[in-house]
Symmetry: C2
Subunit: 149 residues, 2 copies
């Protein structure tokens, strides 16, 4: 996948009955996104398996790491160190694509994660891209424009 | 100029005939998201102004910085150092919310940014949240599960 084109809503399987293109896909994608986070948070690996395409691809662009296939992705999550917890802060769904901001907590630490999902035509999650933006100190020179929280 | 709103230039079709709520908002949001990036990339500050609510709020959670109001946000962008360039890699739109991945280049450097937009009921962008995830080295111990690119 090049990722170079904006993701657009996919056409529905059929057009009979006046269905609005993409609306059903969007509803299914929104549900899959919520369930994906729920299954991870509850360490429900069997439940997570049912959401994932067998050839799911997981990418972390910051480290340029890629994991291919459901077994390796499940192992990655099951082995992930720390008592991590996930909560959905934002979700947008659009056809077979979704984006989430997760509130991720490990012990006393907190970090947001940006997660991008793509679903295949069978409704299974076929691609996951995770960004893990870390806190940093703001550069000098813009104090007159900003407030801090 | 300040009273015009290009996003709502043409009214949505009327509600008879089973219009699905939110579909028109999504199309307008998708358009606003694309125009937002285009106006920034072309340093079209007058054009950008017409997309933004006067009380737009811009947040960068990693530095816990917040900028309030259109004038300060325009100044922030106009003053931003470096010959930066933006290209949309992904966009998902959902009602009055959108999420984008931008390919950001400054000189020879490249970084992805995750951008979250919210539109007010008048179609103007009322909230912008930017994440700037930086590259980092992968932790040891998962080499058996991943490939690098």
């Amino acid at each position: 996948m090049s990722g170079s084109c904006p993701i657009r809503a996919s056409p529905p399987p059929d057009g009979v009955g006046g269905r609005v293109p993409g609306v059903d896909d969007t509803a299914l994608t929104r549900k899959a996104a919520a369930e994906y986070v729920d299954r991870l948070e509850s360490r429900d690996w069997a439940g997570l398996t049912t959401l994932l395409a067998e050839d799911v691809v997981y990418e972390m662009p910051q480290t340029r790491e890629r994991i291919r296939g459901r077994p390796a992705f499940l192992r990655f999550n099951a082995d992930y160190p720390g008592d991590w917890h996930l909560r959905v802060r934002r979700v947008v769904a659009d056809g077979r694509a979704a984006a989430l901001v997760l509130d991720v907590r490990v012990g006393h630490g907190q970090q947001d994660a940006c997660v991008w999902l793509e679903l295949a035509s069978d409704g299974l999650i076929s691609r996951i891209v995770d960004y893990w933006p870390e806190p940093y100190d703001p550069p000098a020179g813009r104090e007159h424009l900003v407030e801090r929280w």
